[in-house]
């Protein structure tokens, strides 16, 4: 039981570390790292949802090969042993989106550094919030 739950606990721990970095750290770069950690924990969670342990044999990748279509037993074998492909597709999309967001954040941080000459959030505070 324990080793099935542990990866989910890791997700939670990573998520909380990310939230901690975002809310407590005063350095722009550390905040960005916090966002990256949060993204990764969510992606890990999605992958874990799709993973499963078959009772016999080990889990296989959900790949349909051209030979497979001729034999219905192969398809059933695939269905009962493969991991769920949908979360993997979601994770791919989510990684790409995360990349775009993080790239934009880094650009913003660089421009802020040009304006203020620092990454320290306590000195970047013209707005009242």
């Amino acid at each position: 039981m324990l080793h099935a739950v542990l990866p989910f606990v890791l997700c939670l721990v990573l998520f909380i570390i990310g939230l901690y970095a975002i809310s407590v750290k005063k350095n722009l770069i550390k905040v960005i790292v916090g966002v990256i950690i949060i993204h990764n924990s969510v992606n890990l969670f999605l992958v874990l949802i799709g993973y499963r342990v078959p009772a016999t044999g080990s889990a296989i990748a959900p790949i349909i090969t051209p030979q497979m279509g001729r034999d219905a037993m192969d398809v059933r074998e695939l269905l009962s042993h493969s991991v769920d492909p949908v979360p993997q597709a979601l994770v791919l999309t989510s990684i790409v989106i995360g990349l775009a967001v993080v790239a934009l954040m880094v650009v913003m941080a660089l421009r802020l550094h040009q304006k203020y000459g620092t990454f320290d959030l306590t000195e970047i505070s013209k707005l009242k919030g």
Partner: protein, 616 residues
């Protein structure tokens, strides 16, 4: 009509890619080709959204083909715990325990009962039973069959082993785009406001450089919002949400001055956290239901009670979409982000984005997909009440014109969420019966959506007016302004119209929607909330009297004695919205039954959403 839904996403998306290309061809100065493309695209969106109103029924477009799959309808169950272990324990029974077999469904017809353990399955032609490891897997095995074919389940009941034949129902593969009443209402709002915003940008954005970099994200944001509204699929909503959000981050920081960059960064971080919450919620829902299609999840909601994990997913959704909608515990980013953007973008953010990516999705999930409950109702009502009150109290003390308007966005969206929350509460306490939907719930939801429509119009108008003032005077500090009615009579007239609308003065549209909200709230028995709603309305009026006093009336400062009225495109854009502000209130009997009633109906039908999607 079905092709209109993908078109409403493809047109702005195409425009977003065409504009940088057009810029390459044309001259370096300005962006005339880009402006024409943007204007044409948004005008096309208005036409498309109005054409969509011609039909009343729910339109579903399947992207990637409408492929009927078989589906185990009416069956929910949990996996016996041994399957989470790496090693199977031969002493323990393995399979899925049935939690519920809905009366009248294929599962009940097959004779399956609560507490049965499904231990194996086979086709009628097979000799041996195959193993069943989890409910999701059983669904997937079943999904590989032809619709209508028979699947034989091996069932353990009271110690004896039985065989039950279950007929596979019909389900779908492919990504759904769903156009129901609510979608059509949001499409009209997005079309009209984005058209006026682009029209306003033609003159206003001339003071900025790199205009192709402005119109392209603007179109992308419209595509994202239209995408959120038309998707019938949880993950697609997430993707379009991010498309709209990423382009809005870029637009908030478009001025690349220090304040704009700071606001944009703050918005980026909080919004990224919100997206993470939403994605976590989506993951949990997928792991429980095995599907991302909203209508299919709604089908489960009709018969399955939410378990703890579903509540957790709902909590993540409320936090995530609450952050996107800037409801009060999560509002910190909005007063910085919205004023920092160029005025037309502020109008789009306040008028559209917080509705499409926040309130709309929240309403859709709570009413149609996850199911109503009193707990959600109280959360929504509390958030709405706090936003209403805190937003207006913070607004009254502001001296920055756009910041004041941004705080009012929080406050006014609080009205909408409060009204929807009252609707949820009434529907959760007395579900729709043969007599129909409880009239209080119908009124509350109608009023909430009416206020959403009105807020889009008058808040966009106010931001455009503030843009017009800033464009001519160069300042948005109330203390430095004054007496503009002498030099900019039209802008001042439009500001008056919008101020009276948002403050709820008859006969402008804000009055009618606020009146309906107060009636609905009091009718539902919440006297205190009704009183609070009226009080907030007075405070709003107070705050806009301040705007009138310091911008329109009073002494014209000497340095503004030579300013002129804004150019024609800006005036036309503001004029359209001002006409809307007056017409939407007075002409409610004319368009209410065609635009707002279907939108409210699509929320009050609750999980009947599934039937309307698959049946239509």
């Amino acid at each position: 009509m079905a092709f209109l839904l993908p078109l409403s996403v493809i047109i702005p998306l195409g425009a977003a890619f065409l504009i940088p290309l057009a810029q390459l061809i044309r001259s370096k100065k300005g962006c005339p080709a880009g402006e024409v493309i943007a204007l044409a695209a948004t005008a096309a969106l208005v036409v498309i959204s109005l054409c969509g109103l011609a039909t009343r029924r729910t339109v579903t477009t399947w992207i990637g083909g409408y492929e009927a799959k078989s589906e185990l309808l009416g069956l929910t169950g949990t996996t016996l715990p041994h399957t989470s272990e790496g090693e199977a324990d031969p002493a323990r029974p393995r399979g899925v325990v049935i939690e519920q077999a809905v009366p009248g469904s294929a599962a009940a017809e097959a004779g399956l009962q609560e507490g049965d353990i499904i231990t194996g399955w086979k086709l009628p032609s097979d000799k041996r039973f195959g193993p069943v490891w989890s409910m999701n897997e059983l669904r997937r095995q079943n999904a590989a069959l032809e619709p209508g074919s028979i699947m034989i389940l091996q069932v353990e009941r009271n110690g004896s082993t039985l065989e039950e034949a279950i007929k596979a129902g019909k389900s779908v593969a492919g990504i759904a785009m769903v156009g129901d009443g609510l979608t059509r209402l949001l499409l009209v709002i997005i079309g009209v406001v984005s058209f006026t915003a682009v029209l306003f940008s033609l003159s206003y954005m001339r003071t900025y450089t790199k205009l192709s970099l402005y119109y392209s994200p603007l179109m992308l944001m419209i595509a994202g919002m239209n995408g959120i509204v038309v998707s019938g699929d949880l993950f697609n909503i997430y993707v379009f949400l991010e498309v709209a959000a990423v382009s809005s981050y870029a637009l908030v920081g478009f001025g690349v001055e220090s304040e704009e960059l700071e606001a944009s960064f703050k918005y980026l971080v909080l919004s990224a956290v919100a997206s993470a919450f939403i994605l976590l919620g989506i993951g949990i829902v997928y792991s429980l239901r095995g599907t991302l299609n909203l209508a299919q999840i709604a089908e489960f909601t009709q018969f399955a009670k939410p378990n703890d994990a579903m509540w957790l997913a709902l909590a993540f959704f409320v936090a995530g979409f609450g952050l996107k909608a800037a409801m009060v515990p999560f509002h910190a980013w909005l007063p910085d982000a919205h004023p920092s953007a160029p005025a037309p973008v502020s109008a789009m953010l306040s008028g559209l984005l917080i509705k499409a990516s926040g309130v709309y999705v929240l309403a859709r999930l709570v009413f149609n997909v996850m199911g109503v409950s009193t707990a959600v109702a109280y959360v929504l009502m509390t958030m709405g009440m706090l936003s209403m009150l805190v937003g207006v109290l913070l607004a009254v003390g502001q001296w920055d014109l756009k910041r004041l308007l941004a705080y009012h966005s929080i406050s006014q969206m609080g009205y909408v969420v409060l009204a929807l929350g009252v609707g949820v509460e009434v529907l959760a306490k007395q579900p729709a019966s043969a007599l129909g939907v409880p009239p209080v719930a119908a009124l509350a939801i109608f009023a909430g959506l009416f206020h959403l429509l009105n807020h889009a119009m008058f808040k966009s108008l106010l931001f455009l007016c503030s843009g017009s003032v800033v464009h001519q005077t160069g300042t948005r500090n109330l203390k430095e302004l004054g007496g503009l009615s002498q030099r900019m009579p039209l802008t001042c007239f439009f500001t008056r119209v919008a101020s009276l609308s948002i403050a709820g003065v008859p006969p402008f549209n804000g009055f009618f929607s606020k009146l309906l909200i107060v009636i609905a709230v009091v009718w539902a028995g919440h006297w205190f909330l009704g009183g609070l709603t009226v009080l907030v309305s007075f405070l709003t009026l107070l705050s806009f009297i301040k705007v009138q006093r310091y911008v329109i009336q009073g002494e014209l400062p000497a340095k503004f004695s030579r300013i002129k009225e804004s150019p024609a495109p800006m005036l036309v854009a503001m004029g359209i919205l001002a006409v809307m502000c007056i017409a939407l209130g007075i002409l409610l009997p004319l368009y209410g039954s065609g635009l707002l009633k279907p939108a409210a109906d699509s929320l009050t039908q609750l999980a009947g959403y599934a039937t309307s999607v698959f049946g239509g």
